[in-house]
Amino acid sequence: MTFPAGTFTPSPGTGRLGRMLLTHARTEAMLTLRNGEQVLLTLLIPLALLVGLTLVPIVSLPDPRVDEVTPRIFALAIMSSAFTGQAIALGFDRRYGVLRRLAATALPRWLLVAGRVVGGLAVVVIQIVLLAVVAAIMGWSPDAVGLLWTVVLILLGALAFGALGVLLGGALKAEVVLAVANIVWFILLLAGGIMVPASSMPGVLGDLVALLPSGALAEGLHGALVSGAPGWQPFLVLVLWGAAASALATRTTKLT
């Protein structure tokens, strides 16, 4: 094969910011939605639990059950994609050298992070919309004022869990990340205030669980969507976790 003269004549330059961000974020989101394990983790398990816990009275809950279950499933979905999913994806992306690949392009460093954040938030929006539609079909009636707080809590929760996911996925070997991210997910689901409310745990244990990102997000969403008053504590707890994890992750995250 021969190439006409001028085919590769240099014409360097940085792409448009909006286009870089959009393409990067869309690629990240599409990769998540195309990955079977990620779909199971971020969509199918939360959907199954939402329907199962609403329709099958294995745990006793105040009526309407769907109003009690939905906020907790939102919290689970956010933890699943922003923390476990992000950590595992980052661990393997590093293994495959994609961070270094992108770091060698004209993409500014801050966009390397921003593209991942926006891609992750897009997945969270899809999760929440899908879960909300299914909950609505089962008679979900959220507090109208609380919906505003819910948006803020979802954003803070996704950022805090996302920062924790990057902290884990950016520092360790891919296989170790995979194991740790799944174990933490399972522990937080059962004992971190998602399945069992922090408020129904005995004494000091309940207070401690409410300080976990999972406990704070679940309590906050529950407060917002059931009574319209989430209180200030969940916001503060999520901001602190997010800030601490981000600060630490900027020092520990490795490209490969």
Binding site: T9, P10, T27, M30, F92, R95, Y96, L102, A104
Partner: protein, 312 residues
């Protein structure tokens, strides 16, 4: 303007990099004029990748200075990166990404990219356009990585072992591409451990070993560093005395039996030397077979400089 254009595209002075006790690069100098192709040639572990990654800004030198397109690759990375194309060793892409998807992402980072679909087709990746990156063969991953390095129409490209893991057809294609880049005025710094590749592509070859430059020049300068130097190979009965043959030849001729029955005379091989060798063999009652006189190849230069033992 003219002063910037006259400066070399890559200028490395006294580069040193240590990794926990071992010195990967040890006082290396390098100069690559604009529009030229430089091959960094060396055995595994010679310091090629560390040198290239320093030029790309991924590795911070412990000592020495590195200037790429007049910029410091570490502190002025944001200015430098839009102007260079990088093909890292072993590629780099999301495990689940499709080739064209990855290339479009890298293309979006450039102001005036080449057409991704055209490049995918040119590199023979159309057939696997929907295959996830992790299921592509090593050679296909390499080709995608090369495409990512070229898509942004850079002034300068770094190709770290661009043909590693490729079949001969793909290797020919990469060679064509590098030649086309050179024709169009793109500066290329590539690493290879294939002498043939350096000889075929490069204007300048820098042979490095243990992090130091051991030889440099154009391929023809390197192979004819000693213009009189030539080699005479022949086959005859194994175990003849190389000392006796050397004694019959001019003083600066060296004689070795490189493997049983295969003899190599190197030095100023002229018709008289050839005649002396055949006559000496006749005295021993043997016929010198497969007699061949040749210039040193770049491979000989390389092996002479870096040794013939296998590196682990």
């Amino acid at each position: 303007m003219s002063s910037a254009a006259d400066r070399p595209a890559v200028e490395v002075r006294g580069l040193t990099k240590r990794y926990s006790g071992t010195t990967a690069v040890d006082g290396l100098d390098l100069s690559l004029p604009r529009g030229h192709v430089l091959a960094l040639l060396g055995p595994n572990g010679a310091g090629k990748t560390t040198t290239v990654e320093t030029c790309e800004g991924f590795v911070r030198p412990d000592a020495g200075t590195v200037s790429v397109l007049g910029l410091d690759p570490v502190t002025q990375s944001e200015k430098l990166r839009p102007r260079i194309g990088v093909m890292p060793q072993g590629g780099g892409a999301y495990p689940g990404v499709r080739a064209e998807e990855m290339l479009r992402l890298v293309a979006a980072c450039a102001a005036n990219p080449l057409d991704p679909a055209w490049l995918i087709e040119t590199l023979g990746l159309s057939g696997s356009a929907r295959t996830p990156y992790k299921r592509l063969s090593g050679g296909q991953q390499q080709r995608l990585s090369l495409a990512c390095a070229l898509i942004g129409r850079p002034e300068l490209v770094f190709l770290d072992e661009p043909t590693a893991g490729m079949d001969p057809q793909a290797r020919r294609l990469v060679w064509e591409l590098v030649r086309a880049l050179r024709t169009d005025g793109v500066t290329v710094l590539l690493t290879t451990h294939l002498m043939e590749e350096a000889e075929a592509l490069a204007d300048h070859v820098v042979i490095i070993d243990h992090g130091r430059v051991v030889a440099e020049g154009t391929p023809s300068e390197l192979t004819s560093e000693h213009p009189a130097e030539a080699q005479l190979r022949f086959r005859a009965r194994a175990g003849m005395s190389t000392e006796l043959l050397a004694a019959a030849l001019p003083e600066d001729c060296r004689v070795v039996e490189s493997s049983p029955g295969a003899y190599l005379v190197s030095g100023p091989v002229d018709p008289q030397v050839v005649s002396t060798v055949t006559a000496w063999c006749a005295q021993q009652g043997v016929l010198a077979e497969e007699l061949h006189v040749g210039r040193r190849s770049l491979e000989d230069v390389f092996l002479d400089l870096t040794g013939r033992e296998l590196r682990s």
